[in-house]
């Protein structure tokens, strides 16, 4: 076997691969190179975020933050659970300073996985009331959405509505709409019932809901609203955030849908309405801790909170911040009072109950 025969293709192949990989690392990511080089020279000029919130409003906030402080914000967007997995695997070497996500259950999970660390800042404590912060200060609330009952203005009177539990009663048989149990929103809703009412009642509730389905769960929250307008069902469990999106749609047909429904905050006399909280936490191995805390302080400020609420139809966590008209028109409501950690603790049980009751 002659050597040339052995090595010629090998050399050609390796050379090609190296050239390509070289291209990939050098030109492919001008910004990436910058950020990789920066921590050494300009350590205090940036902050790195892993976020599961993919909203334009958030990008806007980060931009404003950079303009105000000169601190550059680098972002990786992904699914929350994937980002948690990534943070776990990166361990001490991680470049991420902050972790941002929607839903208390996920935040509790991040905490359980030991990827966050407590933040103490008087500014933050002043901006965000205690019930919207983690009990161990490992994350801070960013915005909330209420999981409410949307009902047909034509066919349902708000007097008929009272609680989540009431939705399992006979009168809603074949009239109730809700999305699939794979949605985190539903998982956290059920997890909150497990915490507040116990496992047995939560299971009964899920069974009752499945009994009253107007159709098999299908589509997202917006689809449930459209199904009310179409007459498939009369009431739907959905998030206020999506009601906001519908009511501000570019599509006249969606505006009609938004017009045909109204919002009811359930359990006001009892346990309170369930909310999904978005939160921001400092990673355990953050390299730019000071900048990260500054950013949390900024995003919870009145100015940032008003911007977020106006653009994204979420309730601000800062009580001083003004809300857009639509949210204002719904008035104050009573929130569920619980430790968000419990949502994470009961998530698995919730999924098991969904699977057992056949909530698709």
């Amino acid at each position: 076997m002659n050597l040339a025969k052995l090595f010629k293709p090998l050399i050609v192949g390796t050379a090609l691969t190296i050239t390509l990989a070289g291209c990939g690392s050098n030109q492919g990511d001008p910004k990436g190179d910058e950020s990789a080089a920066q921590p050494k020279t300009t350590e205090n000029q940036e902050v790195n975020i892993y976020t599961a919130r993919h909203y334009e409003a958030d990008d806007e906030l980060y931009k404003n933050f950079t303009e105000e402080t000169g601190i550059k914000v680098n972002v990786v967007k992904g699914k929350a659970e994937e980002l948690i997995e990534r943070l776990k695997r990166e361990g001490e070497s991680t470049q991420a300073d902050l972790f941002v996500t929607v839903d208390g259950g996920v935040l509790a999970n991040a905490k359980q996985n030991d990827i966050l660390q407590p933040v103490t800042s008087d500014v933050i404590n002043e901006n965000v009331p205690e019930n919207l912060r983690d009990v161990d200060n490992q994350w801070v609330g960013l915005a909330t959405r209420a999981r409410i009952i949307a009902y047909s203005k034509d066919r349902v009177s708000p007097d008929e509505l009272s609680t989540y539990e009431d939705l399992t009663s006979e009168k809603w048989n074949g009239k109730l709409l809700v999305r699939s149990s794979t949605s985190l929103y539903n998982q956290s809703l059920l997890a909150s019932f497990i915490e507040l009412n116990g496992e047995e009642q939560a299971q009964e509730w899920a069974e009752g809901i499945v009994n009253n389905f107007a159709r098999q769960p299908d589509g997202g929250d917006r689809d449930q609203a459209a199904a009310i307008a179409a007459g498939t069902g009369d009431v739907a469990i959905m998030n206020t955030y999506y009601v906001g999106l519908l009511a501000n749609s570019e599509d006249p047909e969606e505006l009609k849908v938004a017009d045909s429904i109204d919002v009811f905050f359930p359990n006001q006399e009892t346990t309170g309405t369930h909310v999904n909280i978005s939160g921001i936490g400092l990673t355990k191995h953050s390299k730019n801790k000071e900048n990260a805390v500054k950013l949390i302080e900024y995003v919870t400020s009145v100015e940032a909170q008003e911007l977020l609420s106006a653009a994204n139809y979420e309730f601000p966590v800062n009580p001083e911040a003004a809300m857009p008209e639509l949210l204002e028109s719904w008035g104050d409501f009573k929130m569920q009072e619980l430790n968000f950690d419990t949502l994470g603790e009961h998530n698995k049980k919730a999924i098991e109950i969904f699977n057992q009751t056949g909530w698709k």
């Binding site: 025969k5 050494k40 994937e82 009609k256």
Partner: protein
Amino acid sequence: MKTQLIRRNMKKEFNGWWIISLVGAVVILLPILFIFSSIFQEANENWLHIRQYLLKNYVANTIILVVLTGIFTALLGVTLAWIIAAYDFPLKRFFRWGLLLPLSIPTFIAAYTYRTMLGYTGVVQSTLRNQFDYQINSEWLRVSGISGAVFIFTLFLFPYVYLITRAFLESQSTAYIENARLLGRKPLAVFYKVVLPLSRPAIVGGIILVIYEVLGDYGVTSYLGIHTISTAIFQTWFGMYDVNSAMRLAAWLMVIIVGIFFLERLLRQGRRYHLSSKSRPLVPVKLKGIAGIAAFVYCGIVFLLGFLIPFIQLLFWAKMTFVKVWDSTFITLVYQTVFVAVISTIMILVISVVVANVSRSHSSFSFILSKIVTSGYSIPGPIIAIGVLAIFISLDHWLAPVYSKLGLGEAPLILSLSLIMLIVGYFIRFMATGFNAIEVGFEKTGKKYSEASRMLGIGMTKTFFKVDLPLIKGSLISGFILTFVEICKELPLALLLRPFNFETLATKTYQYANDEQIYEASISSLLIIVISILSVVILQMIGKKVKK
């Protein structure tokens, strides 16, 4: 005696080509082995729960979905390929190319588009309601469940079967078809007795690509509310926070894939498919009267449903949201998407050609090799991502002493924060797309030419550049198109493996669509579609030049 034989065989086959192939295989195999290692860990109670309540249902749904999609894409793809290859009718030249366009629309975007379009607020129902005062039962038009998914998969994945079968029929089947025609066979008989048996490897190759796509899909099935093994992987991982059970499911998925492979292998055992060496183009027969119109209508309907209607719908939505959504960052998105796709595609093709060339020897070792390099396609993106991430982070830790010597700081993450990680992810995931196209190319040219060249004393490498490469140029081009378009459309890997501040068009689309902002997602969707189409056009032009 036996060891001598083995040693001789090894000597005969072991060379630089093998080394490159093995390196490629190792890169692909490491993350996959990482996944498989989960099987040997003890099952936890989550797994028991999954097995008790869900597994049967997941497997059943997956199989139904695969079988139905397989059948319908084969029906659509093969009949269209045959009509286009063998006949002439109005606008045929346009359809020949236009029927590839559905491939440019990512299936998850197609699902969003069709569902919204046919939904209560969509154009169909609102027109009926507002213009004709007729409210159709909106449940009838609902795109959901298995039927909805099969509808979407069939319409937007059939071009895999169509493309490969058509290419085969046009160049390889001439002698047989003309003989059959000369001997007085009716067109239908020619189709059943000659075309179908002859083009089986091509058809199967196409269907296997479709099946991979369906098995790995998360976007469409989760959106339409179907539980498959693939969605279960997500739910176990993200819902139960149980990576091990998720990987166990992924391993099961791979078992199914391997099963499909062996089944196919078994069915075609002993048959050789190298065909006539003279690859004369097939001369189409002109269809007259009703037959011509029927062919035109058939192609036209598929083209309308699979491309034009959703495309126009997206244009409308883009117009509606343009002012709100458009800004100059879209230009950057286009650049980044194309850049990473081109680099990855070239890498995939280089390694594909090497491995495909090596595995032409049809030894069992080369068979295993070719299966290894293509196995990534069958694994859902997020699972690959976790495997790749794990490997890269340990690589970074391993290289830490080197980094600190270079003055990069203590234990930093260099590789795992670079674009290389994403490119490797693409490489693993889409190797099969490039490889299968090239393998078909080698299969249809047979080994005659290269054997002749080797007999005449020319080495493997020289033979390859002088003889093989020019012969498979067509396959190279179609391999490039398929892989490039796939990467432009890819989502989960891009989401998880990209470096800071790096977005592609697909991740941008997902950002909106995931948030139920379908209208806002239309601009980035359109850009993906336009890039895919342009790549097809450019490569087609290159292809024509090459032929001349």
